[in-house]
Amino acid sequence: MAKKSLLNSVLAGLSVVMFLVALGMVFFYAPREATMGEVQRIFYFHVATAWVGFFGFFITFLGGAVYLATNNRRWDILAFSSAEIGLVFITMTLVTGMLWAKPAWGTYWTWEPRLTISAVQWLLYVAYIMLRGSVLSPEREARFAAVYGIAAFVTVPLSWFAIRWWRTIHPQIVSSEGMALTAKMIYTLLFSLATFTLVYVTLLRQRIQLEKTRDQLAALRLQHDQAAQND
């Protein structure tokens, strides 16, 4: 327990340090983008949060599949925790995307494929979280969520193709092409990706720990209730 706690503290500390360094790189190391100017810097957060969001949903899919195969609660906890964190990051992706879109494209929202797929993902995992809160039996909750997590994840590539073709078949009003990256930009982006991945891992460990503590608390409450009933 003490080891775990130490590791969590180390990860949290490292995440803060790396986040500060990433901020420094984004604002002081990466060069100013010629066409879009300062607003382009949001791109480093936007891409990193999107990566972590999608990765989180992949872990949810994986955790759900293994849970169904093994019926082991730890995989369900992993899937649930990852979905929650993934949802937070995808929300950040949507917000940063809209903030970037306004000065770049002149509108907060456009049915650009990447924004659209993020919006669909967001809806899918909001539904996933709602489902988890709506099932009485803990076992059923885990199974239903696992099935939904799998179905949600496997339809994502198709959604991506459908949305991309949908938008590219018709003339596009705006285009995000032509954003060439310099070496410094690539280093900054890679560092941001690593930082956000570490933040994800840190949050995931904390969230898993929280869920385990909840389970323990529920067991203790039950014991207490039974003892009180016996008295």
Partner: protein, 505 residues
């Protein structure tokens, strides 16, 4: 017949069964007693293969239900709290449906015989929803013994019955034991004929605390109360093995004795060599699928509630879109594919919700799970039933949309798109409706779960329909047709792999 060893079942942190051991010999009739929440229903549901144990082993006629589920189900009849009957089918249709699910040869003769036995011959063509509680219970027992199971599990079968109906049920149970059937039933009625002269097993807080023949109706209720209170006390004090052994001589089972499989304290009563008839070869996959489809359509023919609701809702949705978007002329033609598919999507959620709710209402899903049927057949049966209903609505809706939007939908490519889109919709909708119906917010949960998952299907269906209406051929609609096909294959594969997890407890 039944061998239960170290059986535990937990629901999250709550333990419903804690290391139960029980043996029931073939032909025996055992009454399971215990206060509310003792674990009686859980035990019965595990034996009926409706729930999986957390740990421990269960053998029914020497077979492991987890490994040979279908074969075990062939030997089990289960009378649940719920009737597991379909309200919108007649008594005869209900039995005929289950006869098909169990693959019973000469089913009509057996159905006639059972209806006579339970006194429902005169009401055989009446819908079950018009039956009194007692009549439904009698029919439920007929359903449970339809396939001549070697083991019948009855969960408080006397609940809600008037004295006359209770007598009929007792006579039925006596006939069953006379025929060599093994019975395990739960009861709260400690003074009735049900418990008298039977082997009585008392469960309390998931533990077996008493196991002995019950011969004195006047003293047993007092003993029972004592047992239950005593068991509560034992939770706080540790029990010595010596005193436990002493107790077991009186039929009381200590926690220590309960922790290992042992013969029941009295010698198993009836020397009934009710040898299991070898299970009839399991019926094939397709007859099960068609039985479920036919059952759903028959129920719908009696009520027409799903079709009517979907159709009226679809028409309303089309009207609202027309008003909201002021669809006229070229705009109507351009918007027609989108409006049509949005309408189908909304109406579909309504129909799927109702279809699964109908299944859930009186425990129909449990009835299906009890039958020796492949879970994939259950999925296909339900999905095809839903598909048939959705297509029936579309058959009426498309001509109406043609009139409203002045667009010719009756083209080969458009109809093929409608079929592919509806297949995918019915497949994913059936899977998610089975989930949504078990949630607290069941009325609103299905569209929330379903619509985001339908994104690729709806985009592809709208775009393909639009292109085809503009004169493109099926080959000329690009990747939209491929998306529809791949979506259907993918979602059907996921549903087949996971449907069992969704419908089981």
């Amino acid at each position: 017949m039944i061998e239960v060893s170290q059986l535990t079942k937990s629901f999250g942190p709550r333990t419903a069964l804690a290391g139960v051991n029980l043996r029931v010999a073939p032909g025996e009739c055992v009454v399971l007693c215990g206060p509310n929440g003792a674990g009686k229903t859980t035990l019965l549901r595990i034996l009926a293969t409706l729930a999986r144990p957390t740990s421990g082993t269960v053998r029914i006629a020497g077979l492991d239900p987890l490994k040979a589920g279908a074969e075990v189900r062939q030997h089990i009849g289960f009378v649940s709290h719920r009737t597991l009957l379909y309200d919108d089918l007649t008594a005869e249709q209900n039995l005929a449906f289950y006869a098909r699910m169990y693959g019973i040869p000469a089913a009509q003769t057996r159905i006639d015989e059972l209806l006579e036995q339970v006194g429902l011959t005169a009401r055989r063509h009446d819908l079950v929803r018009t039956f009194s509680r007692g009549m439904q219970q009698r029919l439920a027992v007929a359903r449970a013994v339809l396939h001549r199971p070697a083991l019948v599990l009855l969960d408080e079968p006397y609940t809600g019955l008037d004295p006359l109906a209770a007598d009929t049920l007792t006579a039925l149970l006596t006939d069953l034991t006379g025929a060599g059937c093994t019975l395990l039933l739960t009861s709260h009625n400690l003074q009735s004929d049900v418990t008298l002269n039977r082997r009585v097993v008392v469960l309390n807080r998931g533990r077996l605390v008493y196991d002995a023949p019950h011969t004195d109706a006047s003293t047993f209720p007092a003993l029972y109360r004592e047992l239950v209170q005593e068991a509560r006390g034992k939770k706080q004090e540790s029990v010595s093995v010596e005193s436990a052994n002493e107790e077991s001589a009186n039929g009381r089972v200590s926690e220590a004795a309960n922790s290992e499989l042992r013969p029941t304290p009295h010698s198993p009563t009836p020397p009934l060599p009710h040898s299991l008839t070898p299970p009839s070869p399991l019926p094939h996959f397709l007859p099960h699928v068609w039985a479920i489809v036919a059952k759903d359509l028959a129920a719908e023919l009696h009520t027409r509630e799903i079709f009517s609701a979907m159709f009226v809702f679809a028409v309303l949705a089309m009207l609202i879109f027309s008003f909201a978007l002021d669809l006229r002329g070229a705009l109507a033609q351009a918007a027609a594919p989108g409006v049509l598919w949005a309408t189908i999507a909304f109406a579909g959620t309504l129909g799927l919700s109702r279809s699964m709710a109908r299944e859930q209402q009186t425990g129909g899903i449990e009835g299906l799970l009890l039958a020796p049927v492949d879970r994939a057949a259950l999925f296909f049966g339900k999905a095809l039933g839903n598909l048939a209903l959705m297509l029936a609505v579309e058959v009426v809706l498309l001509p109406l949309a043609m009139v409203m939007f002045d667009v010719n939908f009756l083209r080969g490519g458009v109809l093929l798109t409608a079929l592919l889109g509806t297949v995918g919709y019915a497949a994913v909708g059936t899977l998610l409706a089975a989930i949504a119906v078990n949630t607290r917010a069941r009325e609103v949960m299905l569209p929330i779960l379903l619509l985001p998952l339908l994104t690729p299907l709806l985009i592809a269906a709208v775009k393909a329909t639009g292109a085809l209406l503009e004169g493109a051929t099926w080959a000329g609609i690009g990747g939209w047709g491929q998306i529809l096909v791949v979506y259907n294959l993918l979602i059907i594969a996921v549903a087949l792999l996971t449907f069992g997890y969704v419908i089981e407890e």
